[in-house]
Amino acid sequence: MYAGELSGLKLGKATRDAFGEALRDLGAEVSELVTVDGDVGNSTRTEYFAKAYPERAFNVGIAESNMVGVAGGLAGSGKIPVVASFACFLLDNAFDQIRMAVAFPEMNVKLVGSHAGISIGEDGPSQMGIEDVALACSLPGLTVVVPSDAACTKAATEAIVRHDGPAYLRIGRGKVAEVYPDGCNFELGKAIQLRDGADATIIANGLMVPAALDAATALKDQGVNVRVLDMHTIKPLDRDAIQKAAEETGAIVVAEEHLHHGGLGSVVCQAICETKPVPVESVDVGDVYAESGDPDGLLQKYGLTPDAVADAVKRVIDRK
């Protein structure tokens, strides 16, 4: 059973597939768009763009530091570079280059990290980007987006390409449920409310959004009504939606496929403490590295399931 199934959502494309298709389609109308790859374009799906526009695609090899620097230079001469690799190799390996060639000079570079989270499965912890959001959010001026499904990813890809400034888009490897089967009304920095309820709010992003919906579905049968917010943009953060949720529901659960420190949970807690302090519970990877295994087994073992979210909601309501 996949996350979202309980709520009647169909299993859709992987977000990396949606990204690749959206980027290829944008290539026709955004002539400044170019890609810079670290030889994983067939994994990140920038290859769709590269096949359509070979003269605008640069594979600089397994050299992420240079890859990001080259993107910074391309942006300095007016291009809109999309630089893509596995989230861990992009953010962790080339962090200083992102700082110096992208964030500090405010270059119009779009960073795309694929294979984020533990749900990549069998390849194991060395390939799992679970620190990436913390690293990205630490950089001043960088927009950080974690879309939940294919439609949201398509809209997010268009939004960051049209946004004038540096951005990071986090996408995943495996298929995920269709949270937005009829298309996503996406606006950078604006949370999307998927359910309403008065007892608590689940703030989620990425593949934890369908898990949050399943938790809400299950809890409703038990007489507990929760609000669900898709917090696809972590930076700039929709503090108004968070404050409103704290004031109106009095309890928050944050769910993300990331380490406990520095991700969505951290920034939501900060926003809540600074606006309307209420109890918070977190569902995340914790403070550990995971292991190899099948994606569903890993999500179960590391507690990133609808059941784990529902349990967190019960705990946080008890603390009200």
Binding site: G61, A63, G76, M100
Partner: protein, 278 residues
């Protein structure tokens, strides 16, 4: 592009720039004058020898040539050359490193027009230069890119990633200059991390490489002219220089020929300026 001046005129310009380097770093009370002085002939030749196409009044002209100072700590030579070129009044650079001044301790392109890359974290300028060079080719803009690195900086792995990728794309609009002054922060480069000879290594990647006396203006001008005519591959100039060139007698008296990352105290600055005037 301005008409090329004579070697003597370029030497005179270099001397003016050297005096500015000494004055602004002493006034600032910090900075990297010796790292700037080794690079003075190359930077002077680039800005005043007819090798770069630029207009100080149009620093964002898409067709301008780009100069990236990857060894960003040597920015006193860049600010001095740009002031001489007319980007900003010379008096302004006396505010080097002061709060509120755009003449920061390392180049910050967001605060100073004409700076092509924010540098200071070593090893990154060549990659950024490659991006500009690719864009120049894609849009048929015809501009050239010059990147100056330090020899200590060559210890950064990213430089070698960049060297390989510039060769892949046959970027003949890209020239890298290595200011091989022989010293880095804590000592001689061949003792801290011996990278041996640069020329055969960079040639092996498919670049055109020249090794020259980098504090000899005529050699610098000739090398830049030779590089300008090379097509089909990126170009490198290994400029063998002396850190603190121009005021070596003064530095010798201090017993520190590296003199890394510190300004001359006012009395020594006076001696250095007198030496440069003599």
């Amino acid at each position: 592009m301005a008409a090329a001046p004579s070697i003597d005129q370029l030497k005179e310009r270099a001397n003016t720039i050297r005096k500015l380097i000494v004055r602004i770093t002493t006034e600032a009370g910090s900075g990297h004058p010796s790292s700037s002085l080794s690079a003075t002939e190359v930077v002077t030749a680039l800005y005043f020898g007819g090798f770069m196409n630029y207009d100080p009044n149009q620093p964002k002209d898409p067709k301008r040539d780009r100069f990236i100072l990857s060894k960003g700590h040597a920015c006193p030579v860049l600010y001095s050359a740009m002031a001489e070129a007319g980007y900003f009044p010379t008096e302004e650079i006396m505010t080097l490193r002061k709060l509120g001044s755009p003449y920061e301790g390392h180049p910050n392109m967001k605060r100073l027009e004409g700076i092509e890359a924010s540098t200071g974290s070593l090893g990154q300028g060549l990659s950024i230069g490659i991006g500009h060079a690719l864009a120049s080719r894609m849009d048929n803009l015809g501009f050239n890119v010059f990147v100056m690195m330090g020899d200590g900086e060559m210890g950064e792995g990213q430089v070698w990633e960049a060297i390989a990728s510039a060769a892949k794309y046959k970027l003949d609009n890209l020239t890298a200059i290595i200011d091989q002054n022989g010293f880095q922060q804590t000592g001689a480069t061949d003792e801290v991390l011996d990278l041996a000879e640069f020329q055969p290594k960079i040639e092996a990647f498919g670049w055109h490489v020249q090794t020259i006396e980098g504090n000899d203006m005529e050699s610098v001008v000739n090398a830049l002219a030779t590089a300008a005519d090379v097509t089909g591959k990126p170009k490198a100039i290994v400029a063998k220089t002396r850190k603190g060139y121009g005021i070596l007698d003064v530095l010798e008296r201090t017993g520190d020929l590296n003199f890394h990352g510190k300004p001359l105290p006012p009395d020594l600055a006076e001696q250095a300026l007198a030496l440069l005037d003599s």
